[in-house]
């Protein structure tokens, strides 16, 4: 599984999407590189996207996001992405994780949602080797991501999820 593949060869880039939560539009994008000769897929990047906005862009940040979800109650104000907050729904104070997007929208994640998302995360990456990801993490730019998203149809308006 972990043969060295030529980084300069024109391998196919496949972006695959796992929806972690439909209501909050939280998605996990997995960037695969398919070896043109052996037709094997290698995972090259994992990214969290919320409502059309990239929250993380590399494996370290994505792992941090996942751990903040998993810790939920044990996290504090030092969290980078998901800040624990409390709000009142029908005169009852509830705690949740909140994240503010660049357009000002605030998204709250409940405890059960966080648990479900962590479960989905574990399921979606079963069977893939992370050795190549850690060894040769591909440096991406805005242009390469745009190309990859366009090739896989993510910029199309009526793309079925």
């Amino acid at each position: 599984m972990d043969e060295i593949i030529d980084a300069y060869e024109e391998n196919r880039i496949i972006v695959s999407c796992v929806v972690l939560n439909h209501d909050k539009k939280i998605k996990l994008l997995r960037g695969f590189e398919e070896d043109a000769n052996t037709k094997k897929r290698y995972i090259r990047n994992i990214v969290i996207m919320i409502d059309g906005e990239f929250i993380t862009s590399n494996i370290a940040d994505t792992m941090l996001f996942k751990e903040e979800l998993a810790l939920f109650n044990f996290g504090d104000k030092q969290n980078k992405y998901l800040v624990p907050s409390s709000r009142t729904i029908e005169k009852e104070s509830v705690s949740s994780l909140s994240i503010t997007l660049s357009d000002g929208a605030v998204i709250h994640v409940t405890r059960s949602e966080a648990k479900a998302m962590v479960g989905l995360w574990n399921m979606s990456l079963q069977g893939y080797s992370f050795a190549r990801l850690l060894e040769f993490e591909k440096e991406q730019t805005l242009e390469t991501w745009t190309d990859a998203l366009e090739i896989n149809g993510y910029l199309q308006l009526d793309k079925p999820e």
């Binding site: 059309g52 906005e53 990239f54 805005l142 745009t146 998203l149």
Partner: protein, 278 residues
């Protein structure tokens, strides 16, 4: 005695009359004879020498190398070379507008696209932000649009003057998309005002530019008999190629000057068959 005198006078008169009559008959006969001669021998027609101009006809055109895009060359050949719309204020105004669309790298956002906001951490730890979506190339769209409009005008047989005004109006209509020219006008203008400002600067030599602006206003006000322009535009946009694009916040806007657009002095006498060579 009196009778004798009167008789002598009468006799002399008669003699004179008879003599004169004889002379008159002779002249008539002569005339008739001469007329007969003329009929028999008509004059030979004069030989006319016609000199045909065998030199090649040369007309002053702009060189096709002025344009980079195939679309612009094609439009110039169709409108100016084939139709011979070479009368002066129109010819230069059209070439100026074509050159603006030829030079520009502006785009039109596709109606069929999602926006994805990207925020990527580089290896040096700094973040790079941008929005990616799909676009159409403005120059390709404009030339295809103009081509379709010109075909429509030919089919419906508009008058030559109207055809010219509509062609210029159509080009000025989309000039607010050319981002490189926005520096010429004050900021915070509406699209319609920006069009009039830029159009007025480019078409200042075109004598009937008030007709062009009248057509522009008719397009904006959605007049019924000019609706074909909007329909053809929508139809053109539907078949345009889409390109992925990243809009970075910190990108500097390029601009180009309108003072270096083609001038009448750049025209050359070119033979019609040689238009593709020059």
């Amino acid at each position: 005695m009196y009778f004798l005198l009167i008789g002598a006078v009468i006799i002399t008169v008669l003699i004179v009359y008879i003599y004169k009559k004889d002379v008159g008959d002779d002249e008539e006969k002569k005339l008739e004879d001469s007329a007969k001669d003329e009929i028999i021998e008509p004059e030979k027609p004069k030989e006319i020498m016609l000199y045909f101009n065998t030199d090649s006809v040369r007309i002053s055109f702009y060189s096709l190398h002025l344009f980079k895009c195939y679309g612009a060359k094609n439009i110039y050949k169709k409108i100016v070379v084939e139709k011979l719309y070479i009368d002066e204020p129109f010819h230069t105004s059209l070439v100026k507008l074509l050159q603006i669309y030829d030079k520009t790298e502006s785009w039109i956002k596709s109606k069929n696209t999602k926006e994805i906001r990207l925020k990527i951490r580089k290896k040096n730890g700094k973040f790079e932000e941008g929005v990616s979506f799909k676009i159409h190339s403005l120059s390709d769209t404009a030339f295809d649009f103009l081509d379709n409009i010109f075909e429509y005008l030919n089919e419906k047989k508009y008058r030559e003057k109207d055809q010219k005004n509509i062609l210029l109006a159509v080009l000025v209509w989309k000039i607010d998309c050319v981002k490189e020219l926005k520096y010429l006008c004050p900021e915070n203008l509406l699209d319609a005002e920006l069009r009039e400002c830029l159009g007025g600067r480019i078409l200042k030599e075109y004598s009937s530019n008030h007709d062009v602006f009248k057509i522009l206003r008719m397009i904006e006000d959605k007049y019924e008999h000019i609706q074909f322009i909007q329909k053809i535009y929508d139809n053109t946009l539907r078949w345009q190629h889409e390109y992925p694009y990243v809009d970075k916040a910190e990108k500097d806007n390029e601009s180009f000057s309108i003072n270096h657009l083609p001038d009448k002095s750049m025209k050359r006498l070119i033979h019609l068959d040689d238009i593709c060579v020059y």
